[in-house]
Symmetry: C2
Subunit: 227 residues, 2 copies
Amino acid sequence: MKQIHVVESVLKASAAAAGENRRLMDEAGLLAINLMSAPGSGKTTLLETTIPALGPGCPCAVLVGDLQTTRDAERLGPLAVETVQINTGKGCHLTPGQVAEGLRCLDLSRFAFLFIENVGNMVCPAAFDLGEHLRVVLLSVPEGDDKVAKYPTLFQKADAVLLTKVDLLDILDFDISRVRDDLSRLNTRAPFMEISSKRGDGLDRWLTWLKDQRQARSPGQEPTAKS
Amino acid sequence: MKQIHVVESVLKASAAAAGENRRLMDEAGLLAINLMSAPGSGKTTLLETTIPALGPGCPCAVLVGDLQTTRDAERLGPLAVETVQINTGKGCHLTPGQVAEGLRCLDLSRFAFLFIENVGNMVCPAAFDLGEHLRVVLLSVPEGDDKVAKYPTLFQKADAVLLTKVDLLDILDFDISRVRDDLSRLNTRAPFMEISSKRGDGLDRWLTWLKDQRQARSPGQEPTAKS
């Protein structure tokens, strides 16, 4: 029984930390989005396109989780958004405690959106509530059209699914109808958007969705202290 | 202290199971290769090319780990190799115990090679010895040239690194020298092979390497009971 108690208390602490993160972000009128995908699906590239397109009326902050390196934070630096790099060492996902530490580095009232770029991994991040409001899952065309069925938990819990790198559909063997079918069995709630950050496909729909989601949660609330 | 003892005994049991797997495979003169990569890097496609090319003189068996579905086993079925699909449920990597169960389904003396296709994940599989003789890590061009530095543990422990989908080098922005540089800081032992399963690049070198590795470990030993 000892072992079970230990596990229970770890889970309770994790849920409590996630709840506290959400409370702080709700208070600040911030919409927090947990971006999850395999390595190399284009999470950072999507942010490089999304953040400038949202414009100065929607200031963004980013928490980036990686085992090692600060390369993603360096890529996002030139966008003049506040970026906190969290190195997880051997950790295969971000934890709510790590996100709480990241939040302490930010003046939350300044931002409309917080993007949490999780560790590239289609399994473990799905199991952890970080306190985010929405989960966005990316699947890139080169990964193959069988991934929704193979990693169901991730897609089941998604609030939106983005098929990225659709500019490669012309040259790779990829059946979108297979992805749509698999998704329809797991999750009928999440919109499915076809995106190319490179060519611009689907970005208008994605940006509209983001703004609508924030509007629905924090009607009329604007970031209070722009600097 | 209680908790630490629990963890220690789990680790000991895991190491013991891996050791027993290795002993059984050594006894059978089988070379076991643990294939690890992100989802969609081309592990199954590589096997679809490799197994027929090795030919009837080198009979192969495959253990395939996936959270859900038997799609990889179905893909490998037509190659007339013995394939065991292991569904890990929510498990983010194969365990030595699961591999032991898979081995019990096979007459090991019939095979020259056992390929263990791990769960698509660049983090967790790296931490678990399954009893394999060699670890082969795949990185596909669409994942990006920053992944060696971002997932160092996986590459550090590799006995060979395969850059797959090199047919996409012409159209994607990917700097091979960056990968080579990052790798040279982590692992100078593993050969680095540029592969396209689709176009055939690098397959001769890969097949020669596989046969040399088996020869070095089981000189003169042939599978005993072909059926």
